[in-house]
Amino acid sequence: MTASTGALLRKAGLRTGHAALLSAFVVFTATPFAWMLITAFKRDSDLYNPNNNPLWFNEPPTLAHWDYVLNRTPFVQWLANTALVGLAVIVITLLLAVPAAYALSRLLGSWGERLGIAIFLVYLVPPTLLFIPMARVISSLGLQNTLWSLIVVYPTITVPFSTWLLMGFFKSIPRDLEEAALIDGCSRLGAMARVVLPLVVPGLITVVIFSFTLSAQEFIYGLTFVTSTAVKTVSVGVPQDMVRGDIFFWGPLMASAFTASVPVAVLYYLVLDRFVQGFTTAGAFK
């Protein structure tokens, strides 16, 4: 055996090992989704026969569960609600967090740093602690059982985090650029809008994605503030309204869980690089 074939073999071995390792991870992460998809197309009589191979169609596949989800539940409405809440939360988050982060990182000196950490800590207050008193706030605003309740409350989670995240982006931009703009006669705000903001677009995209996915994922506030079927989001509507009867309707449940998960995942994936960039440039860590 020559040295070169040995190296080749080792290389091939490494590549196989590498592939096996990655396959194991993918099996771990993706199996629940694969099973969701299979379940969503299986007949009940196939699904509830313990002798059947759960990963195989022992009886012909069926669209009955999808028909049920799309035509007999407000699932489409929930998707629309989720999108609506997500968009509104994005707008509010940007309006509040961008100026705040700019002020904290640029205008307030060392106080900004400390305040930034304080604001970030707000992010750690869990919804389970706040939702009862929050219910009072929401209803005194007259927003209970409307999508507005979620639109108003979700930024309590997104704003602190986004502010902290954006601080890191603002800090990474050389002050010289801004000062040059100021010398050119720009106002401070003008310099921020024209020079700084375009440079933090990756950060803004990170915030947008974070805000949207949070709105799509949140469960506890949604459970409490919104009780009408017509104004639920996907993550509350499916577990609450689709467990119908004494029997879990596993087929429709899995069909809707799968449908709700994938668009968000694709969205994330499209901007993943920038998102990662967001975290590495983030806040106090760099």
């Binding site: 313990p50 009862i132 219910a135 209803s139 459970l223 409490t224 009780t227 004494d246």
Partner: protein
């Protein structure tokens, strides 16, 4: 039975007089007049569960509600949620009522008596009186009694207030697989606990046959978990052993002599039942488990409302539609072999069972009298709709009893009189095609009628008060049983721990003036 401030006789008098005086078909004159006089723009918002019989929601949402809405000119919005999420939503809405804000719904149907919400709801006494007095030409005779089960589930003797209005209860009969039990009986020479019609009748029968059944690969399944079904069946066991959480006067008794020994006995019995006749799945029980495990063919026995039997019927009907041979079709044979016991299984003291769910509507005290009146009228008519003849006369489809396929049992005992209930159950339209195809008897579920005699409520023999509600909703009883069954705690320790928690809950509610008793 009527346990309010006035006696039952007074009411019968009122009913009689009212019926005579009015003479014409009028449903609850008082609310009707108020509602229709100023109808128009009122909206009535109702929150209730996803019914375990999906056909009921179809009827409720698409027949009863639209017709009722049309008749009174009241807009009605109905929201459904899974039963497990109801308490959380009710809590949030109660907080809003307390703060003088709009709760989001005008009334909620709870599945266990919402005694803790008493300060935020109206007194439903008038509504109950009106309902007791309601008549209808299609239903000769009055409403009968507001049954004791319902009264004790909605009335707080300490404050004298009805914090809810129970429109129905669902019996919790024991389902069993007749084919498996026959085989078990054959293997046990001396076993006579399986009767052609009656099924196993004592808990000791269940234990003895259960050993054999488990060896056959079909354990019995009673939940020992933090969920509704476990909460119910374990209380049924306690009651049948002659013990309970509280006495008539809301004193905590489960660890006090002479009940202490009985509680320890039933704890030991359940441990034995688990070890010899059950399987670890009972600790992971969910509200769907008894159905799923039974329908998947694992269980030889499960306690649940009639929805288990109804699912076997649906599956069998589908098999028949597909043209399967009824004699060989597994789905059809499964339905034929699914029976419910003649009564609740007996323990050493008595044969006591529970309601499976207690349908209790409560109307938020928002001060909006027009909506509150509309809500009361709605509930009165909902109870009226129990009777198929009344429903037909009013254009309400088949009515509440038939739409729920015999699941919703009346709490106003003659809302659908016994004769009409039996008429339905004896010629069960759902089961009829299966009976015809197989030669089985058509009155498959007639035994459920016996629940009128054996069904008791959570909190028996006392009232379903706020402390009982908290004990129920925090699953202290199932946890106590499960820890003993698993061998983690000795029965004495589990009981003392549970009793300590229960007593502190009772004391807290007593301080708030909502619960009676002293010990």
């Amino acid at each position: 039975m009527w346990y309010g401030k006035s006696t039952r006789r007074d009411f019968l008098k009122t009913v009689g007089a009212g019926a005579l005086a009015v003479g014409a078909p009028v449903i609850a004159p008082r609310f009707t007049r108020r509602v229709s006089a100023q109808s128009g723009q009122i909206t009535l918002r109702i929150l209730q569960w996803q019914h375990f019989i999906p056909a009921y929601d179809d009827w409720f949402d698409n027949v009863f509600v639209p017709r009722w809405s049309e008749k009174y000119g009241v807009r009605v919005i109905v929201d459904h949620v899974g039963l497990a999420d109801l308490p959380a939503i009710a809590a949030a809405e109660a907080a809003r009522v307390a703060a003088g804000q709009d709760p989001g719904h005008d009334m909620i149907q709870h599945l266990s008596p919402p005694a803790a919400l008493e300060p935020q709801v109206i007194d439903h006494a008038d509504l109950i009186k009106e309902t007791l007095a309601a008549t209808h030409p299609a239903r000769p005779g009055g409403m009968g009694n507001y049954i004791r089960l319902a009264h004790l589930s909605t009335y707080n003797p300490v404050t004298g207030k009805y914090f809810g209005f129970s429109d129905n209860f669902a019996p919790d009969p024991v389902h069993y697989r007749a084919d498996l039990w026959r085989e078990a009986a054959n293997r046990l020479d001396t076993f006579d606990g399986v009767h052609a019609e009656g099924g196993p009748v004592t808990w000791h029968d269940i234990l003895r046959a259960g050993r054999v059944l488990r060896q056959m690969g079909h354990p019995v399944g009673f939940g020992l978990s933090q969920e509704l079904d476990s909460n119910m069946i374990l209380r049924a066991l306690m009651y049948s052993w002659g013990t309970a959480v509280q006495d008539e006067n809301s004193n905590v008794i489960l660890d006090r002599p002479p009940y202490r020994e009985k509680t320890l006995d039933v704890l030991r019995f359940v441990k034995q039942l688990y070890e010899e006749a059950m399987f670890p799945g009972v600790f992971a029980w969910t509200a769907a488990s008894n159905n799923e495990e039974y329908l998947a063919g694992r269980l030889s026995m499960a306690a649940n409302a009639v929805s288990i039997a109804r699912v076997t019927h649906q599956n069998a009907l589908e098999a028949l539609r597909r043209g399967e041979n009824p004699e060989t079709s597994p789905a059809v044979q499964f339905a034929v072999n699914t029976e419910i016991t003649a009564r609740a299984p007996a323990g050493p003291e008595a044969a006591r069972g529970l309601e499976h769910v207690m349908g209790v509507y409560s109307i938020w005290d928002t001060g909006n009298t027009r909506v509150i009146d509309a809500a009361q009228q709605f509930l009165l008519d909902l109870v009226q709709s129990f009777d198929p003849d009344v429903a037909e006369a009013e254009g309400w489809g088949p009515g509440k009893f038939v739409a729920s396929q015999g699941y919703d049992y009346p709490t106003f005992e003659n809302a659908i009189p016994k004769a009409k209930r039996l008429a339905y159950l004896r010629n069960d339209p759902i089961y009829a095609p299966i009976a015809e195809a197989t030669g089985d008897r058509p009155n498959k579920l007639e035994n459920v009628e016996a629940a009128m005699d054996w069904a008791l409520h959570v909190g028996w023999p006392g009232p379903a008060n706020a402390a009982i509600d908290e004990v129920f909703n925090t699953f202290i009883i199932p946890v106590m049983f499960a820890r003993v069954a698993q061998g983690i705690d000795r029965p004495e320790d589990a009981l003392d721990e549970a009793a300590g928690q229960i007593r502190s809950i009772f004391n807290k509610w007593r301080r708030q003036g909502l619960v009676g008793g002293t010990s």
